[in-house]
Point group: C2
Chain length 590, copies 2
């Protein structure tokens, strides 16, 4: 037997008991005739003590222990003379009588402490050491427990977890699929699912009524910090349900998870239409932890001989409170450069400084008198001491730029910190987006999203312009500016689904080839249904106030899609390629 | 709102309440002036009643409803005059006041009843209709609940569910991998995991202590009825643990699952060594629901001038009770043909009939007197009325053949039925199997399995013959002759792991290339660890006394690895192939 207790459970009540513990040597300290070893496992740290006077051999052996050695000890629990109130086991120590080294350890390439000195690449290569660090281990335990609670809640609501297949069919819609050559069906390929969307709808047609699954999904996209080629969704679908019932159910889930995992009671989630979110925040996932809303200034800005504004489709600004003293000309210049970076794309930045002494200073002072600028204050919610930043141009682009600027100023001014969690349902998304470049509609959500009931007739019979105005019965859950989940009421009618595929530019044959099974299913008694999917990795990160999802994934891939620890992807044998009836068109790097 | 209640919950207490229900039309019957409709959903069936006298339009509309139409009704709950005690809702019916058809249905290609008239192919193509059938739906619900209970138990035992990656590295060991070309790393491939084996061991090195995962695994094998290219495992690993603690933990899980799911209290599981299982049953997964054990007859059979037995490495028999009258010469001839089929491969079948009248009749009567044959009875456990079947030849082959014959006789004589569940731990497997053909050792379990402690020195220093006798610290859980789970204590020492790879014929470079990360991890304080994996699909089937795993999988593939509903695998675009830097070497079937 390797242990009678773990390293986190001994308390004052255990004093005088003989115990056996196993774990890793966190640190070893020699103090005079004593050696103290901190023994660590998943559950905590227990102090071991060896005394040169009592047992010289044993103490000498203890002094030879290196960091991360794996040992088993037996000894007696003693009350400590100097207790450590910061550690649950801090009242006791174990006086060791027997010590066995189970495995030695080379010196780790970085320290196994809360703050590590390892860079990203080396942490990923030695992920088994990185996970020994408490913050990473706690993240993984958090994730495991979040899954437990999610399943508990949904099971309690009569949802059944059903596993959908991983080897499915490739469809050219949406992001790129990962594909898998079929040996048994030469020349043919499976695809890995980007989501179980069609399967969960099929399960509704099959009468499963309430489905969920915590499920891996796959997208072969170019990667960013918060994207992974494989990611996890809480995927859900319900039958005989209205939008409001879905929002209620999953608001319930979210509130439950925050309560159980973080001890936080979320308030009732506000709702905001897509149009309103764009107007007020320039984003369909507004961060409600701070204000600084977009204020449209068209009537005010036009007609003062300032051509930039006069010719703009949109002029709008945001007010940054209390920084007029703080922000120098140099700062303003730098901020102007920031908004002009290609990632943001503004043509310039107009500012108005409402100084504390009542004067104003503005980059457009030539065109607008102090009186005029002061007259904007009320609308902008600006006061003495504030700076207003104004952008202009095409409506959509400019709103997006103002959103980026708002978030940047929010970060700089620390407006997001300590504000807790601000959830929001964004509703009434457009059904279709017109893409100028490809001259076709794209589904804003996905091709299975239903229009709002009042828009069905217009969708079936309307002209091109009408289509642009169709609203989808779709919704996103946003928390602190991060899209946590999204879903919709689905089409459950063959004709409407066919019409949607037509609008999206599918030929009849393409639609039939790719989604014929679903449209076929709609002819055999498909119930009204709808659902939602939560990004599980992102939910973990947002609940813990972190930006990156990577440390909530046990074995993430880097930005090149590589697993640095196992060194995947890798070359495969020629015989394997032959069996799969494929050959390479490149000479792979060795 | 589509419903106030589901179709399974109305009782006598609801009488006089106004309710709204939604569901599928199971059946519609016209009786005089009344129309009765059975409305079905996942939760049950409720009888609706329409009365021609009360509302002619509504009743006429009801009469137009076809099978599987989806409807919503509102009406009043009434007590039934003739109750149906076989149905939980059988005390009531709903007198309909409002009826809306939500969706029509074509006539299904097979009946949506417990016993369907649909063949396998059509059931798979219209899987959404097949799942509406109660037995299939109940199987999927059973599976979902089994996962809930598994997670509940393991979480309660401090196991953390950790998701391991699906896009990993191909290794030529074991079965064939499915592979995934990497677009971002031209010429390189990911593989889909055959199991998360190395990752769960890495998690132990990482200090996660107790890991589990209900996880999809993948094998590109030629398929049989009980094999699927993607299947699900309950995958577990523990640190600082002995074999006996693992068996105790997972016997606990199994007993819990049978109690919760089937209301069955399993007895303490017996243990049997691999050698004993082979000797007594000719199989490492014996079905203990019946006896008919193998009896070795070498001393008895030899020396009677019967060359077949005299030259045989092994002679053994089984006793089929009470069939000596029943089994005619023709039956015996047929059974002889059965054992001589290539799938079994026996050269012939010897029988001894111990007749009820005390006489004997045997196919080897020429060589063995009645007296001799009667003297075998005690050893064989045979009595008047029994038939003994004897096979001879090479030991291993003959034992396997006797196992097949035993199972066949068990089936024919109905010896497995009504015997409940007979669990068994099979332990002490050989570590290595010598393969004559390839002239190399194979790992009986997998290359990470540790030898038993007492065999470690022999493994590191022994000669070739010694290797054949090494025992692994491995174990299988067998229930009713089906292997439900298997696992082992793992190697956690670099030298021993390297030695095992050597024995398995890996070059140093191959071992380093494929498993260098694991051997590297063993140098940084790897704890002793071990684990187990349960076949989740098979566990579902065995718990429900079913042979095939297919109906416990929502969307299974057929024997060609095809999903008949979505028609996968399928062709992909030339542009997709180009992006992946591969081309086909076959012209695919259209």
């Amino acid at each position: 037997m390797y242990r009678s207790h773990n390293c986190g459970e001994l308390r004052i009540d255990h004093v005088n008991q003989s115990v056996t513990l196993s774990g890793w040597v966190q640190i070893s300290r020699d103090l005079g005739g004593m050696t103290f070893v901190d023994l660590r496992d998943r559950y905590g740290i227990t102090q071991l003590v060896f005394n040169m006077e009592d047992n010289q051999d044993l103490c000498t052996k203890a002094r030879s222990l290196g960091r991360e050695y794996v040992i088993t000890i037996t000894g007696e629990v003693n009350e400590r003379s100097s207790k450590n109130p910061n550690r649950p086991t801090g009242d006791i120590e174990v006086k060791v009588e027997k010590l066995e080294v189970l495995n030695e350890s080379k010196t780790p390439p970085f320290t196994i402490e809360d703050e590590s000195d390892g860079g990203d690449d080396i942490r990923m290569k030695y992920r088994y050491l990185d996970i020994r660090r408490k913050p990473v281990q706690e993240n993984l335990i958090f994730r495991g427990k979040l899954a437990v609670e999610t399943r508990k809640y949904l099971s309690g609501e009569d949802f059944i977890e059903v596993e959908t297949p991983v080897l499915i069919k490739s469809t050219p819609e949406g992001a790129r699929d990962f594909v898998v050559p079929s040996r048994m069906n030469p020349g043919q390929f499976y695809a890995l699912p980007q989501s179980p969307q069609t399967f969960k709808q099929i399960l509704m047609v099959a009468g499963m009524d309430k489905y969920f699954q915590i499920v891996k999904c796959f997208r072969d996209e170019d990667l960013r910090a918060d994207r992974q080629p494989e990611f996890t969704q809480i995927d859900c679908e319900m039958s005989f349900v209205t939008r409001d019932q879905i929002l209620e159910t999953f608001e319930g889930l979210t509130r439950y998870l925050f309560k159980e995992m973080k001890g936080v009671e979320l308030p009732k989630f506000p709702w905001m239409s897509y149009d309103e979110a764009i107007k007020r925040y320039g984003s369909d996932k507004p961060d409600l932890r701070f204000g600084m809303e977009l204020v449209e200034l068209m009537d005010d800005a036009k007609g003062h001989d300032f051509a930039v504004f006069d010719n703009a489709e949109y002029v709008g600004g945001i007010t940054a409170k209390g920084i007029s003293e703080e922000y120098s000309n140099k700062d303003l210049k730098k901020l102007t450069e920031w908004v002009m970076r290609p990632q943001i794309g503004a043509k310039g930045l107009v500012y108005i400084k409402y100084n504390a002494d009542g004067t104003t200073k503005s980059s457009i002072g030539k065109f607008y008198s102090d009186e005029v600028l002061n007259s904007w204050k009320e609308k902008l919610g600006a006061e003495a001491g504030d700076i207003v930043f104004i952008l202009s141009g095409e409506t959509e682009k400019t709103q997006k730029q103002l959103n980026e600027l708002r978030l940047e100023m929010g970060r700089r001014l620390g407006l997001m910190e300590g504000k807790g969690y601000k959830p929001l349902w964004v509703i009434d998304f457009p059904l279709l987006e017109w893409d100028e470049e490809s001259e076709r509609f794209h589904a804003m959500h996905h091709p299975f999203t239903a229009p709002k009931k009042e828009d069905v007739d217009r969708m079936l019979n309307g002209d091109h312009e009408t289509m642009k105005a169709l609203r989808a019965d779709a919704y996103d859950l946003v928390i602190n500016g991060v899209e946590i989940g999204g879903g919709s009421i689905r089409i459950h009618d063959r004709e409407l689904q066919q019409r949607n595929f037509d609008l999206l530019g599918f030929t009849k044959e393409e639609a039939e080839d790719q989604f014929g099974f679903l449209m076929g299913a709609f002819e055999y008694g498909a119930p009204p249904h709808g659902g939602i999917a939560f990004g599980f990795d992102r939910l973990c990160a947002v609940m813990n106030g972190q930006d990156s999802i990577r440390d909530f994934i046990a074995f993430p891939k880097n930005n090149s899609g590589k697993d640095m620890m196992i060194d995947a992807p890798s070359l495969i044998d020629k015989t394997q390629l032959n069996e799969l009836n494929i050959e390479l068109t490149v000479k792979p790097e060795q």
